[in-house]
Point group: C2
Chain length 456, copies 2
């Protein structure tokens, strides 16, 4: 615990860095069984219809669905299948397992109007990083910007701050002293939320090099809030995107409690905790599921932050976007490599598909993504539903390139694939997070077609 | 030289790879002195006015110009200064040093309407990689698509091929057998240009892993052209972008001559040589200048490709775009790092500017670019023209981040800078190649403002 209440900057800098308590996994956490039906999405059909979503019976396999769509599709552009019922089911699961925590969808992850609309309709809010994202959220919210938008970029352009204030946004995150002075100047009535650094060594994407106040600096930041007469309202953290240990959340929540206590010693009564993002959209080996994270923190939140005093929000992005999108591409060019010796290194076939690292696959560079397997559909044969038409025959080392003229535009090298033909389909499920969001139009290519579906 | 004329695929695969002649630098190349005035752009004022370009006297320093623009500018967005007279001067230089070679501007490098308009007005053509780029070029050319567009993506979507044909484009590059069959099906009257692999070990961006036919495969490809009755018209190569040895061009031109000879043995009389891209936009240490490359190849082209028989084109991108654009950003947030010990590793200051790796600085990931120095302007002081207001005082280790919420969005770490303040300007000259072209709108940020100027 931090004992000092000094507002002297030099003292604050020199004090020993306090260390938040550390935790081990609590394997004895009681099992939680939600009572609601988390699978029934029938009451959300109106929402699906807003986006012209086609109904697909749950028995229909993804592969069969893609085959049918590709047979019908006349354009040669890559496209996304967006399953809106998956977004609804994620929200139902969230409400069941973390009923006290309001999700503020991180628009940056995928600014899909359909995901945003479902989040809005089901009572969520929005984590916005810029003027443009605030504008998109405000269009949906029609007057509830004060309660349902958090401007959660700790470093903000003054013009964006003025825009947010003008739009009625109230909550804003801050993590350094210069930013507090900017708030005082451009947005003096904002509800200030200090973003703290937490241990993000358990996450794929670590943010602590760029954002977050050190715990040892919080006493000083709180005192500056007091000096500037700012409306310090809460604390936020972000364990990092792609978190692989739920203990990271437990530790961060405990740290946040300590900063609540620091603020109380300065006379602030904080009323908001923002537990950030890092919630997975799919279950991956070696990483906790959403349910495991929820089970690890649900009771702790009540224990440390009394229900009647503190509102709790979170900033999930991947959680809603990831599994809802499947990218569908096809092979439009192919090159057989003429090896002098069959044992030579390198691929036997090079394939070229209509999306690449400058478009949806920017996640390979920016989001630490890796393509470990590739699913293909042989479009020349009649399709048998069920297992689909598995390509037989030998598998050969293959390299998959994107469509641009740059050799950097390579999706995966040396992967085992059957011999594929021009027109065959490659598809990538769980491809909605940090893909289209940072896609460019380099060489004139950009995947923009969204085919909405829902399943019972 | 390849002696065999067999069309048997297996034989073609097994034959020993022929090696093109290698060359050493020819230091005795005679000096070439152009007679035209390469600096006078006065007759192009109408072109500059089409884009509302402001006149800036050549005595005005870039730093002083940026200072004045930033004082006047009310928006807080990053912007580009685009000096159109630099594009004109590059074209004048090209025509003087390589009068026989028609430049086809590689739109992908920077699809700037202003650069494209100048290239078009001064007689150049366009290297297009997709339907979208062909559409943009066709808008300008108004009916000369047959002679002034080359569809230079060796791997093409059939729908894009049909679009090109419909738009009257004739020239198209190909580098594999599957693609020849696609041409036969979708564009049987195209002027086919075989792109060959050349030694690209002298270049920063190497394309041979993705594109280009091996010389040993050319005999077979030419025979397929004959079997399919295709209109084989020429040969192209690309030494790679950022070439650092002009000998790469000399070797590639000699290889192309050998493939001309192969084609002649199959009864084709080729009439087009495309010497690709790789021409630098600025002079860099350790790399040949455009003039050095031109001097190395000018006479060789005439020697190997008779003037009255072969048209020669090239695909420069960087050459026109690089120096024309200066990116102007400003610091909108700052964080002083409270080091426990002053000797600790890491930066003393973190700065956040309004463009980053998801926008213009994508070149750090995609184009092997590196930020070696950063130029800054102290906006708090009166500006003295000439040397500008150099920031004095100690330089501290500094890190510069882009504006998004991602910690990957880091432009440079640990660079020496004076202590800068919020509102101070950082600018990046020679920033027009492969920057805006692959910029995304991640987090809602995108640099789109272009301020056109011209200098006498």
């Amino acid at each position: 615990m931090i004992g000092t209440q000094t507002t002297d900057k030099q003292n604050a800098m020199n004090e020993t860095s306090p260390v938040c308590k550390t935790f081990n996994k609590n394997d004895s956490a009681k099992e939680f069984v939600p009572t609601a039906n988390l699978d029934d999405v029938s009451e959300y059909q109106d929402l699906f219809e807003e986006f012209g979503a086609s109904f697909v019976p749950k028995e229909k396999s993804l592969k069969s669905l893609i085959h049918d769509m590709c047979v019908e599709e006349e354009s040669e552009d890559a496209f996304y299948i967006v399953d809106l019922s998956k977004v609804v089911r994620q929200m139902l699961q969230w409400k069941a397992y973390l009923p006290r925590v309001t999700p503020f969808y991180a628009i940056k992850c995928n600014p899909s109007p359909a995901i945003m609309r479902i989040v809005e309709a089901m009572g969520g809010g929005f984590d916005c990083a810029s003027k443009q994202e605030i504008g998109a959220a405000a269009l949906l919210l029609k007057g509830e910007n004060d309660k349902r938008i958090i401007y959660a970029n700790p470093c903000k352009l003054p013009s964006h701050m003025r825009y947010a204030r003008g739009a009625g946004v109230e909550m804003v995150t801050v993590d350094n002293e210069d930013e507090l002075h900017k708030i005082k100047k451009h947005w003096p009535d904002a509800k200030v939320i200090i973003r703290i650094v937490t241990d993000d060594s358990h996450s794929v994407c670590r943010f602590s090099s760029k954002f977050g106040a050190q715990i040892k600096d919080c006493n000083h930041l709180v005192s500056v809030c007091r000096e500037l007469d700012l409306n310090l309202t809460g604390i936020s953290f972000h364990v990092g995107s792609g978190c692989f240990n739920e203990i990271a959340f437990v530790q961060a929540i405990t740290c946040a409690r300590e900063v609540f206590d620091i603020a109380e010693r300065h006379g602030f009564k904080l009323s908001l905790l923002d537990i950030g993002g890092g919630f997975p959209g799919i279950t991956e080996e070696g990483k906790p599921s959403f349910i495991q994270i929820a089970n690890a923190i649900r009771d702790l939140l009540d224990e440390l932050f009394p229900v009647d005093q503190v509102q709790i929000i979170a900033e999930p992005g991947r959680y809603y976007a990831c599994a809802s999108h499947t990218l569908v591409t096809h092979i439009f060019a192919r090159r057989k490599v003429h090896k002098i010796n069959p044992e030579d290194d390198g691929s036997d076939y090079l394939y070229y598909i209509n999306d690449g690292v400058y478009q949806s696959f920017n996640c390979l560079l920016f989001d630490h993504a890796e393509i470990k397997s590739v699913r293909s559909i042989d479009m020349s044969e009649d399709f048998e539903d069920g297992t689909g038409n598995e390509q037989t025959g030998p598998k050969l080392k293959s390299t998959i390139f994107g469509p641009t003229c740059d050799s950097m535009d390579c999706i995966v090298k040396g992967i085992d694939l059957p011999v594929l033909d021009l027109g065959d389909v490659l598809y990538f499920p769980d491809f909605g997070a940090y893909t289209v969001a940072a896609s460019s139009a380099f060489n004139g290519f950009k995947t923009v077609i969204m085919k909405y579906i829902w399943k019972n």
